[in-house]
Symmetry: D2
């Protein structure tokens, strides 16, 4: 389903080329000041337009439809709507028969019996990360003491990101990347052992972001190559501070008071300029498919604010669960 969270619950909806995309947040505490300008910074970071991103231009203006009164949250469901304005009238119906490699076209049609909206990916579109990012803006306000920062640390295998993008443009290729997220000021004790471990909850939401194919916490996959004596973090304060942070701030599924650190792998944009083979479902034969238009060279460039939002959504929920569940922020 399109819902996540226990106390701070996020519901997303919408399609790339329909009327709108949006989000309803249920369980948001009352009394939080909120205005459209609060969304500007993160939405701008997510927006296309920079070198390496798609030129689809949307104003991305959030309409605060419900749950707001006199500039503050009321405790009632908060619905934020984004109209789709820059939707091209071109014909997308060929996607129904010629599913794009790397995209969800094939599975969407199969799963929904041919009734899925295929225009621009429909409900599967990366455009749904817009309401997700908006929900993150609200979530960040709920857990405002935390410092959540994601950044692209590598793209196309290169940590010099500027040059990697230039190279991709020059070579007419799309590339992937690795985004790292760090969260400071966390209290000890968020999360649960087993099914509601912090890793479980974060990875659950993170994999809701299109194009993410891997996640690792702390030393992550490197941990598999360390010895226990190397990997263990010695505890050096009564507050639980550790000398090293191979655990990435989590033990037994629960925050240990150190910085929470994780990295995600972002696959290269699936829309590429070169022709690819796909099965024409109507004709029953393989054909070459060329995807028109200009696309993101490196979707990973736009992932950091979305990843922060996903993280904030989880942590806002955990903060409400653990510290206080009051509906009013005091």
């Amino acid at each position: 389903m399109n819902t996540f969270g226990r106390l701070f619950r996020v519901h997303i909806f919408g399609e790339s080329h329909g009327k709108a995309v949006g989000v309803t947040i249920d369980g948001c505490p009352a009394g939080i000041p909120l205005s459209p300008t609060d969304f500007e910074a993160d939405l701008a970071r997510r927006k296309s337009g920079a070198k390496g991103t798609t030129p689809r231009k949307e104003s991305d203006k959030p309409e605060l439809m419900t749950g707001i009164f006199e500039g503050k949250t009321t405790g009632a469901p908060l619905t934020i709507l984004f109209r789709n304005e820059n939707v091209q009238s071109k014909d997308y119906s060929n996607l129904k028969n010629s599913p794009r490699p790397g995209h969800a076209d094939f599975v969407a049609q199969q799963k929904f019996g041919g009734f899925a909206d295929y225009r621009g990916g429909g409900h599967f579109s990366g455009r749904l990360t817009l309401p997700l990012t908006a929900a993150g803006v609200v979530a960040k306000k709920v857990c405002e003491k935390l410092k959540i920062q994601a950044r692209l640390v590598e793209t196309g295998g290169d940590s010099d990101i500027e040059s990697a993008i230039d190279r991709a443009i020059e070579q007419n290729q799309s590339i992937g990347g690795i985004v790292e997220c760090r969260i400071a000021n966390l209290p000890v004790g968020l999360g649960e052992p087993f099914f509601d471990s912090v890793e479980s909850l974060l990875s659950h939401v993170v994999f809701a972001i299109p194009a993410i194919k891997g996640i690792e916490f702390g030393a992550g996959f490197q941990a598999a190559r360390m010895t226990g004596a190397e990997h263990n973090d010695n505890i050096v304060s009564t507050e639980g501070k550790t000398e090293t942070n191979h655990a990435g701030g989590i033990n037994g599924g629960i925050t240990n008071g150190n910085e929470l650190v994780f990295r995600v792998a972002v696959k290269p944009t699936s829309s590429v300029s070169t022709a690819q083979n796909t099965m024409n479902l109507q004709k029953g034969e393989v054909e070459a498919l060329k995807i028109e238009g200009r696309h993101d060279r490196c979707i990973a460039l736009r992932v950091p604010p979305v990843l922060e939002a996903a993280t904030a959504i989880v942590l806002a929920d955990l903060m409400l669960l653990e510290q206080k569940a009051r509906r009013v922020i005091t």
Copy 2:
């Protein structure tokens, strides 16, 4: 919480050194033949005893307490209990003041206000993977057409696993590893876009397994270093079969009919023989802690059946959701 699933719901409970560990499965279809012997194979694979594993010996006999009648599931909640028999009477109370590095001792006491059962890790213990594995046995029966197989593909950075274990024993060290899971015979269409993507659900349960620090699907972290043209899987049949499988069998969060492939990183066992520094919470000073007893050299050896169980729990739920939700398997 200690619950996972929508239609096939798994609830785990218990402690390492309490009376028992167990699981209740709610939503299991009626009419499935089930007897204690069905659990033997997977429980034996999970069990300690092999080279590199702890010598704690437990009979691990499942008691089918409820939900079974005349050798078949009834559709009512199925509770499976495992008595803890081989619990040593030794004093664990020092763990309360001297939390072991890499373990959950510190966070458990902090989170639960000093009331957590600290003996052998209490509810945080890896022993809880026993009822998880048992739930997996039932889940495998629910989705019996699927072929779910996990295996250790690397340990201590070495794909020759036998020699890596020997080396770890010789050097008196604990080591980590990488476990790969492959699922064949999946239908197209399991999972949802966004929050209930197959990656979201699988990673959610997988990170409930203690010691897992990373997960990647298909090409995973390597995908971040590929171009789109390299990474995209060309579709070559009307059933969605692809030439390559960099996506790991999932597009847009939904199974695409190809083999589902993912890998997890297992950290080295945290209980090591050498002395480590930790904070003595009572004295307020750092002290050297030496953990007595014999422990797993490589917990990753015991992960494959647990990982299969986690996978089966997710897929049983998705199969019931997508294909039929009837209470009776016909």
Copy 3:
């Protein structure tokens, strides 16, 4: 929270005097034809305007924002929006200090720390039954084989409803009523023992309708005065048909194949013309409060379509759970 359902999930949002009220339905099967005209009949039945109802006039036009493509549901979340148009600009701020007896003004302000939207009841308003009724229209399509009919069987203690309304208008009073709902063509086997009994689920949603203060199934409160021999329904067919239907179509929480019958008690409209005492929270003294404007004489008149909607929401979910959970209606 503002959510109900397991597979067919309904999320309501909005305020009486804000921009809009609306609903998102997640889990609606794909391929269901749906257009704004489908909503007309039930929305008209719910609408004010008849004798005994409030003269607030709203066009109540549903905007199908998402989840629809080419006139059919897509399987993606379906969001339906209703703009609030006929919102009077009058000042409601006195409600914050002088809570109306019988209304939620007092609890809303207390619960949400003074931040609740108090205009016309805000999120607590009966206007939220508009999106609930819209969700019911969709739900009825999902379980279209069922025949769900609710009607007002008594108002002001009188089964001659026309004359009771006339009397209430004449005497300048508001009155309550009893609404009965009958559902035919139900299969045997919907619902679960205990927490997901059909009575549990129906009453859960029914008490979400403002003004409902009681519910009884079958013989209901009369059953408490019968003997077992009188109350038991003899089974007279292999399909489970019974001679009598004191159980109201449910045994052990599960539909038994007979007509499902329940009745609800609707309290009299809380907005009355005569002055009432309330506590002025600012002054700390009891004062007489006179509520201006014209209001429903008998809100029970408008309950039947809302009750049908609540019922359809539960039954659509149970039908999907029990018969098939496929996303596509075939």
Copy 4:
């Protein structure tokens, strides 16, 4: 499913004539003193043995299996088991073909494809109210400031309960009754508008108790016969105290600080001594069925502690949600 609650989650399992019935409570705060003797009072009240109740004798000794350490809850799942000891070896298999009127025999076999445990009602048995009552004992500790009291106010249509029972025994009949529950010391603000209204949540759990056929809050069905001016409760203190309490302590789904009052209708025991007609499913013909053994004359006698438990489970959850969600009671 067999689960209820958001933070304080109750999972029940077991069968009347299987090995055991039990409950797991997840989300119980840590640090609550708990021993088997704490259960004695409520379990004794629920127990059979009094005049008018069945003579099945069970020791009903709770085994605290998990979640307890050194006499206190740990914050981990709390599993409480009750062995079935006094299970008679008689043959129940005729119930499969000759479903008892008023019981769940027919629906259980239909729903679960003939695999349900039919002995003594199996999982549908009133014996499941034993773990429910045990969960209530724990819940009462979580919300110990509340005073929750249920009592039988009428049976067989008579408020002189003693004489009604005597009459039922003399006339060899089973009778129903009405149980009233009152909760004092509630804070203002528990519950939510709409789907999580206090009425919704209470009725949800209350209808999980077998034999309940109706529920009404405050004036309840009488409210349908009152005028608004009569029914409205004037507010007479800044804490929300009202002159009358027709609302039963709830406005807009939320506790208003007054006593919460509700009543439930309990049907007469379905097991009666006289022969009844039912359909023999094997022969396909109606036959007279005589139910052997001795049964409760008036199951309503045993309902009060179960109703208190249901109420406490809801209120413990709401108290944790609203006031603090900390895992530790301080």
